[in-house]
């Protein structure tokens, strides 16, 4: 039962509106630094745009999707009105206020520090405080998910928590702990310098704190998509979840191993010891476990749907799948992009292989393929699936929806494959322009132009997505029925406590953070000789 539809719609609309805005910036960035455009006479504009693009796409957009989807899951999976609606609205408005507060200095060119902050670069304090408000707003959601689950558990003692809600709460706990790294960096290190209370900053320590957030934030972005894999896709295509337990193990593994692996982002940093880099590399390898479990379980669930639809033989079930169903299409595209992106990720996490692609366009290609591709295409699927239940109106034009998903998939492949390739050629990331006339770079001109074409396709697809949602707001009313999630082949009737609660897993998540981050942070924090003068950007 979806009662607080306005609340959920507000989150989704703000998320997708911000996404459309940041998408345009992204396409502009691809274009102006390509051989198709003259060099920018003021590169600051590029970094300004890049800061806005990253801040919106990394902090605002996925957080709002996770929150809106989380509220929808809480109400429909638990069949219980959301407890704390006022708090939920307060969290929403905190994000609105924080988003505006952060974006104004960025637009004025006073915080062109990129969304990863990069101290000793220091921008306007309003930018950082705005980001903190966005995070605080999302923590309200974390608390509400926990409270709603507790209320439900009290009313249903010993009953298995529905899978969607179990995964949703796992995601919220992951985010709560993930965000602590960047929050500490902002509150204890950057904001005092931005306010002028200090003039030096320990940039190395700040980077370690940010790495705490930087990798597991990706799994926070990814959790709604994984929930969609398990809880939406099998139902939407007429199948069943192959294994409820396997799904729970996947989400639990994300909770435990997504966190203590972020130092693989600082393989090239001198302030972290090689031993800890290796430990983080080894733990990163563990993340393939939940992903491969998911790929296996979902393929099996989809096979069930194919066989129920009359598919026979080794591969006949694939043909029998409902390929005209947008959710089926989105899943297939998502898995293909996840496969390529994941393979690239194995290179990034390998301590030695990383050296050849560190800080090149390969990295940008990698995270756009994983996040912009595999994850965001499932955000589209979530929106398409949920929209009629939120608006009470039909999404009529399935052909348009399929075209949008195809365009996103094709656009993302055309954008990111050349991006990976030029990365291997050594093209650095975060550059406002490149001298393609030089013989050393001229081989990169064509792939870069290709990726611009991909970016334009993505822009068209993104705008089409918004148009489809807007159109549905004026479509005829329908009775969408109650919003349901997939059923498992063997629905759990009783579950061991470990698969029905989070105590052990949260303890492990925190414990592994201490073992993997405790020493590097303590060693840097207690050294007196590690601070450097802050460099204030755009301060004139």
């Amino acid at each position: 039962m979806l009662v607080n539809r306005k609340l959920i719609l507000a989150h989704f609309w703000l998320a997708f509106g911000a996404f459309g805005f940041a998408l345009m910036l992204g396409a502009w960035q691809m274009f102006i630094r390509s051989p198709l455009h003259n060099w920018l006479s003021d590169p600051e504009w590029y970094y300004r745009s890049l800061t806005a693009h990253g801040t919106v796409m990394a902090y605002v957009f996925p957080t709002l999707v996770a929150m809106g989807f989380g509220y929808a899951i809480s109400e429909s999976a638990l069949e219980q009105r959301l407890v704390g609606v006022r708090w939920a609205w307060a969290g929403f408005w905190l994000i609105v206020a924080g988003g505006i507060m952060a974006m104004v200095p960025v637009a004025l060119g006073r915080a062109s520090v990129l969304y990863t902050f990069y101290p000793p670069l220091i921008g306007s304090p309003f930018y950082y405080i705005g980001v903190v408000l966005v995070v605080v707003g999302s923590w309200v959601w974390v608390a509400l998910m926990s409270v709603n689950l507790a209320v439900w558990k009290r009313a249903h003692p010993a009953a298995p928590v529905p899978l969607a809600m179990f995964a949703n709460v796992a995601g919220s706990y992951l985010w709560a702990w993930t965000a602590v790294g960047a929050a500490v960096e902002l509150l204890l290190q950057i904001i005092p310098v931005a306010l002028g209370l200090k003039t030096t900053i320990d940039a190395g320590l700040a980077r370690v704190f940010f790495s705490w957030t930087l990798h597991s934030i990706v799994y926070f972005w990814l959790i709604p998509s994984y929930i969609a894999f398990y809880a939406i896709v099998p139902r939407a295509i007429g199948g069943k979840v192959y294994s409820d337990t396997m799904a729970r193990i996947a989400f639990i593994s994300f909770l435990v191993v997504a966190m203590p692996i972020g130092i693989h982002h600082t393989f090239a940093d001198p302030q972290v010891g090689a031993g800890f880099k290796f430990i983080h590399s080894a733990f990163t390898a563990l993340v393939v476990v939940p992903t491969l479990l998911t790929v296996f379980t979902i393929c099996a669930s989809v096979e069930i749907a194919g066989r129920l639809r009359g598919g026979r033989g080794l591969f006949g079930w694939i043909k029998a799948l409902p390929w005209d169903n947008p959710i089926m299409l989105a899943l297939a595209f998502s898995f293909i992009m996840l496969g390529f992106g994941g393979a690239g990720g194995i290179i990034n996490m390998s301590y030695q292989l990383d050296a050849s692609i560190h800080n090149t366009q390969w990295i940008t290609g990698h995270f756009h393929l994983i996040f912009g591709g595999a994850i965001v295409i499932m955000y589209f699927a979530i929106a398409y699936d949920l929209w009629p239940h939120l608006t009470g109106r039909a999404l009529e034009d399935l052909r348009l929806i399929r075209a949008q998903l195809w365009l996103w998939f094709i656009g993302m492949i055309i954008t990111t494959f050349p991006w990976h390739y030029v990365g291997i050629l050594g093209m650095p990331r975060r550059m406002a322009y490149f001298d393609f006339t030089d013989s050393a770079l001229s081989a990169q001109a064509l792939p870069v132009i290709l990726s611009v074409i991909g970016a334009l396709i993505l822009l068209i697809s993104g705008l089409l997505f918004l148009a489809i949602l807007v159109r549905s707001q004026v479509a005829p009313h329908i009775e969408a029925g109650s919003y349901r999630f997939s059923e498992a082949v063997h629905p759990p009737t009783t579950l061991p406590v470990v698969f029905n609660s989070f105590g052990l897993w949260v303890a492990l998540m925190i414990g592994l953070t201490l073992t993997n981050y405790g020493f590097p942070i303590a060693a840097l924090a207690t050294r007196p000789d590690t601070s450097v003068p802050a460099v204030y950007v755009g301060a004139q």
Binding site: F276, L508, L512
Partner: protein, 270 residues
């Protein structure tokens, strides 16, 4: 629950914790002991040294002495708040001291002698260059004797005074020249950033002067001095690297261009 029940692999809490701890210990053994020893080129004093090194702790200083420089290097520390908010007394005292500078740098800080115009220059620039002249990190037959007799406070006062003066249109601006490519865009493949990224028209990096309306001859000579290594008080070699990578034609064009620009284009320092 008795201790036997807790520490039993049938207890899922205990079993999972054992798996996680085992994985951590194996990873730590690999990262802290096996891999460092596998790298033959690394030299260690013993197992503890290996572990400390892998943990990222600073190791004992090498036995060889640190290389000594054949020349004086700049030891001025600048942050973006060095010299911020000078007092009126400091500016006034600077004005009195500046009488000595007027013969070359002009009574209003605008030079008629191909010396730099100082009126409205960033305080950090004057402060750093005077300190470098005094320490010998930068030398000049005229400037060095002046700087040698200045105290720290007098140098700060002079910096405050000149930064306080209005930026008058320079004495010798000519027609505005077209923008040279190297000034506007730099040359990415030669490691040359756009000049304005540090020198004020796009952004100001602390310690870098604005250049608009300065003497063409002066700027050219300085770029050549950086390129040849005669001037080396840029602590990170940023100007030496850039000047070395510039062609003589680019040096001429950059100097001529900046000399022709009015100083109103320059941003205030932070």
């Amino acid at each position: 629950m008795s201790a036997r029940e807790i520490f039993n692999l049938r207890n899922p809490y205990f079993a999972v914790s054992v798996v996680a701890a085992t994985f951590f210990v194996l990873a730590a053994l690999g990262g802290f002991i096996v891999l460092p020893y596998a790298q033959r080129e690394l030299k260690f004093a013993g197992l503890w040294d290996v572990i400390c090194s892998a943990a990222g702790l600073p190791r004992g200083a090498p036995s060889t002495a640190a290389p000594t420089s054949a020349f004086k290097t700049s030891n001025v520390v600048l942050t973006s708040t060095t010299l911020a908010h000078p007092s009126q007394q400091s500016i006034g005292n600077g004005a009195t001291l500046a009488q000595r500078c007027a013969i070359c740098h002009g009574p209003t800080g605008i030079s008629r002698a191909d010396s730099p115009n100082l009126a409205g220059q960033y305080a950090s620039v004057i402060y750093k260059q005077l300190l470098d002249f005094r320490s010998g990190a930068r030398s000049n037959a005229v400037m060095t004797p002046f700087a040698e007799n200045l105290s720290d406070q007098e140098i700060a006062d002079l910096a405050a005074y000149y930064a306080y003066l209005p930026r008058l249109p320079a004495y010798h601006p000519e027609r505005q020249l077209p923008k040279p490519h190297v000034v506007i865009f730099g040359a990415p493949l030669r490691g040359i950033a756009p000049c304005g990224a540090c020198h004020g028209s796009l952004d100001n990096k602390t310690g870098s002067p604005w250049l608009e309306g300065q003497s063409e001859v002066y700027m050219k000579v300085q770029l050549q001095a950086f390129a040849s290594g005669r001037r080396r008080n840029d602590i990170n070699e940023q100007m030496r690297n850039i000047a070395r990578a510039m062609t003589p034609q680019e040096i001429d064009a950059a100097a001529a261009y900046y000399a022709s620009q009015p100083p109103e284009l320059v941003r205030a320092a932070y």
